[in-house]
Structures are given as C-alpha cells and as structure tokens.
Symmetry: C2
Subunit: 270 residues, 2 copies
C-alpha cells in the first residue's frame, strides 16, 4: 500500500509543479496537502527532479531558508530547441503561406497554443539570466507568444495598445515611426500595468526594422521601467541594422519570392 | 533499480501528458520513448489516472483501437471551481479597481497567465460536451483567456480583428452594433482561419449587452462555421436580455458604485 501511495503522491506533485513554472511552492504546503513529512516530500522532489532531467523535461530548483521551497524551471535542451525551430522553419516554407505583398501567413502557428507554450519555454531558457519582472508586447499577433513566455517565467503579461484607446485609468502614450513603412503611429500603456523600476522583457512575433520594438523600449522608459531583453519569433535578415541593439530571434527570414513561391527562412540554432 | 526506473517513467509520462491537454498520445510512442512494453505503459497510465483523480487534478482518457492512445483531460471539480471563482470575486471587489466611468480594472487578472490557464480549464470542463473545433475571440483583452481555453481543448485559437486591417489574405468583414453604446463597428476574420463547418466556441472577457458576441456569431456564420457555445469571464446582470441566447458567465457583475467604491460582483457557482 505504501508503495502505491508514494507513486500517487509523486504523480500529483509532478502535475502541480510543472503546471506552474517558476511558482515557488513551500514544502510545508505539500506536506499538509499530502499528509506526509517534509523529509518525505523532499525525497519525492529529488526523484522528480532526477526524472525530469534525465528525460530533458526541465528541472526543479530548491530554494532553502524560511521563505524557501521548490519550483519547476521549464528549461529546454539545445537539441530539443534546434529540432523545434528546424521543424518550424520547414513548416513556414510552405508555398501556400505566401500572401500578396510578400508576407507570410503565420497566424495558424502564432495561435497554436500548445506550440506557443513550448516556444515560451524556449524564450525562458534563453532569457532566464535576465530575471524579468514582466513580459511586454504590443497587440495583437504577438500576444499568445508573450503570454506563453510570461507563463514560463510566472510574471505578469503587459499588453501595449495601439492608438490611445486605453480605458484603464491614467495611461502613457508615445508616437513612434514604424521602421519599414515610416508611418507615425501611437501606442499606449496603462500606467498601473508596469511598476516603476520593473525589468521588462519584450516579446513579439515579428521584427523587420525594429521600429515597434524601439517604441516599446521608449514606452517602458516613459513609465520608469527598464527593458532588459527583446525576443522575437521571426526577424528579417534585412535590414541588418535594427532600431534596437540587442535582440534574440529564433528564426531568420531571408527572402520571400512571390514568383517562385520560395521562402528562405532559417532557424537560429543554439 | 527497477523501482527507480518505474517512478521516473511515471514522472516523465505525467509531465508529457498534463503539458498537452486533449493531445492523443499513442501507446507506441511512449513505448518507444521509454523502451518499455505497451503493457507496462498501460499500467503506468492507470496509476497516473488514479493519482490524478484522487487528488482532483483531472483525468486520463484511453481511446482504444489502432488510432487510439491516451490523453489528459484537465477537468476541474465543482468545489475547486467554486473556490476559484469566489476568490476572484473577492479580488475584483477591491475599491482601487474602480475606474472613472464605473469600469472595473481587470487587466492584471486577465493578463495573469497561470490564472487564465486555470480558468481555461474551467471553460473546458463546462463546454466539454460541445466538442468545439476552435476557440474564437475578438482582440484584445479576451485573448489570453481564449488562448488558455484553446489550450485546454487542444484546438486552434481564432482571433477576430477590430476594423478591417486583416493582412492575411481574403477576409470577411461585418458591421455590428455594440449593444450598450449603440455604435456601429467593424470586425474582420481571415477566411483561412476557420474551416467551413467548424464548431466554434466563443470566449471573451466581458459581456454587457452581448453586441460583440452577437457580431462574432454572425461572422462565424459568414464563413460557414457554427457557434456552439459562448463563455465569458464576467457578464453584467443588466441588461438581463443579452443579444446572444445561450452563454456561460463565471462571474456576474451586479453594480459598481463610484461614490461608495463598492462593487457587487458574484461568482456563478456550479
């Protein structure tokens, strides 16, 4: 009987931990939930950690001390990331994705929730050292990916609105110039959405010249926050000089040829 | 040694299953991944199923036959749902959420990814019998919740754009009248986003008169799809008559009093 109970406890612990990446659970919480000694829970945690690691499914981090506990870090291994991005690049090369104007139809991928949650964990792995306090994006297509990244970090998602239609109390607006088409646009952020001093990670689906990302950096500064990193799913190879200095792109779009229906997009392997 | 390996396999299986709700894994896939007989995997699955159920963490469904396998269903128990909604209502009553005009600031909740993933599982539990093929919402604030619901069902998310700015190939636009302010607005949907005949579940953050939801129903019909259900996080008690007939609201907003700073919002308990 004891053996059955242990494996059941391990299943439940695994489920609770992996469901909430970066959420710190106290051993006392688990001890009460399962009616087991903290030392028993500690042994279970060690077992789970070893199992997750040996299958490349992330790891557990134990934080000691009175405010300590254990949390799940959904770190992805390089081989898994490379496999994922290579597959994604292949998918995006499909001729029927090319839209008049030389655009790529990507919404089915951007709005695939389980895939985006995986990519969010890729960004978590890449940006973990930056310890962001929130993930910021601008509506609309990048929201699922930013949401997934915020989930992997267990930090709030901040959505900047286009235009000045914020109805959420005092807001800050800026004008910015889109890098490629050189149009002036407005974007706004509710002041209470970002605490002053916050470390902001920008996540978006696509970057061409980087005008939007540049606008987000300026907007963050306007509310007293600090952008610590920028990640995009796809960046174009041209222009090489973007309006933001540091960014991580998972896929590089080199060319879309409307006539031959060929798309040259490559994974940025790690 | 055998014992250790079994518990490690169970941990990895649990993680893989709960990470992708409604995704059907074949026993052959797991058998190859873990180098174990299908009968062994079947035993593990039974153990995991019992453990998840006994802790109220959802269940596993086994599908027999050649195209069969096993999948995780993140069903929430009534007590857990009621606890979640009661806590949420309490949070929303906070006086500092009242924005001039009698609106409630809800973005911190709507953009809390781990909370939204939970609410998405509540909607999955409520709408499971409808077997939707996709989850549809309109930008912007309902996107995280719709994303989370799409994840729980493992179906595509469809985001309808306001205005006619769709740059994703052929699109369908409709005009609709917002139920409360009686303004005429436009919304658009890329045709390729929804297959004809699809069973559509509409998810949104807020419903007052239901004009937006009504517009989504019309838009879905326009592309040959069929709305099978509508779920919103918050619906107002007034007007009682909404422009859509059937909907599920998790919280009912009865009144926001700007003077007394009191908000009357109640969970719709199951």
């Amino acid at each position: 009987m004891e053996k059955v109970r242990r494996v059941e406890r391990v299943v439940a612990l695994t489920k609770l931990l992996v469901d909430r990446p970066h959420h710190l659970f106290s051993l006392g919480y688990f001890s009460e939930l399962f009616g087991a000694a903290k030392s028993t829970i500690s042994e279970d945690i060690l077992t789970i950690k070893q199992a997750l690691q040996s299958f490349g499914l992330g790891t557990l981090e134990t934080v000691s001390g009175a405010a300590g506990g254990v949390r799940y870090l959904p770190q992805q291994e390089a081989a898994a990331i490379n496999g994922l991005l290579t597959g994604l690049a292949e998918q995006l090369k499909s001729a029927d994705r090319i839209i008049p104007g030389g655009f790529l139809y990507m919404s089915d991928i951007l709005f695939n929730s389980q895939l985006m949650l995986q990519i969010g964990e890729v960004f978590m792995t890449r940006f973990q050292h930056l310890a962001p306090d929130c993930v910021m994006t601008v509506e609309t297509k990048g929201i699922p990916l930013a949401f997934a990244t915020a989930r992997a970090f267990n930090v709030p998602l901040v959505i900047v609105r286009r235009g000045s239609k914020v109805t959420e109390g005092p807001a800050v607006s800026i004008n910015y110039v889109t890098g490629s088409s050189r149009r002036i646009q407005t974007m706004s952020l509710a002041k209470r959405a970002v605490p002053a001093g916050a470390r902001v990670l920008i996540i978006d689906d696509f970057m061409k010249a980087g005008g939007t990302a540049r606008g987000l950096v300026d907007l963050a500064q306007e509310v007293g926050a600090q952008v610590v990193g920028t990640g995009v799913l796809v960046a174009t190879a041209e222009p090489q000089e973007k309006l933001v200095e540091d960014y991580v792109a998972l896929l590089i779009l080199h060319a879309v040829d409307e006539h031959t229906k060929k798309t040259d997009i490559r994974p940025a392997l790690v």
